[in-house]
Amino acid sequence: MGRDLVTRIRTPHTGIDVAPFIGAVMTLLIVSMALTPAIACGPKLPRARAAVPMKENRVTLGVDNQGRFWIDDVANPGPVPSRHLAARVGSALAAHPAEERDVIYLKADVGVPYHVVQSALDAVRANGIRRVGLIVGPADDPLPVDL
């Protein structure tokens, strides 16, 4: 490294060996590509062939397989008691600008009993929302989007 004064042989400067760094970055990349769909699952969504892409940034009401309700409310994480559901949906709506209050998304587990979903829909209707987007997972044979 540097000039060896004794033998006066000039050796080149070696920079940082970046090969391990690239190995680490590529591992991170591949791990994130593989794991992110598995982690960000939430409820087990039903499959539908005729689903269309949904706009982003809408209030999302989640129902897990135990029938608990979740709202995409970062300030209050955790399940919502059903008696507070309409109020919490209302406060989540108020946190969005007016153009994002046209529709509420429902992400419910495929095995949830329908009466639980109806409770969720009642909370949505109580806030004056008339359109609901039922979020689904991909089907094996999806239909073309322009239905």
């Binding site: 690239i22 990349l29 329908y114 949505v124 008339r130 039922l134």
Partner: protein, 136 residues
Amino acid sequence: MAMHAGGTRGGLTASINMTPMIDVLLVLLIVFMVVQAGLQRGLSVHVPPPDAGEPKPPTSADNLVLEVEPGGRYLLNRQPLDGTRLTEELRAVFASRPRKLLFVKASEQMSYGQVIQAVDASRAAGVEVIGIVARH
């Protein structure tokens, strides 16, 4: 990718410049982390306002109500439909109707997945507006 000192001639062999490759990899990493969040698909339905004047949609002959029954049975305005050919039968019914509007009704003990199947089959059959009938 260390630099190698030259061999017998004492010169240097330049190695590949790694900086752009690291940039590309980091950009890819960040893009994948961000893109996973979006891109969800769903079925759009209409829900009635709360405490609608009539608990059921007006039962005029004009409105079609698809009832989802346990055991994979479906009734369209009380007429049974073949559950295995639901999409085709709905498509045939709606082919002659200008207003592609369907109401979907299910009893409380049905599972959400069964209701989604009915909504999905209706959407695949060309129904444009699907209304969920509220419980009463």
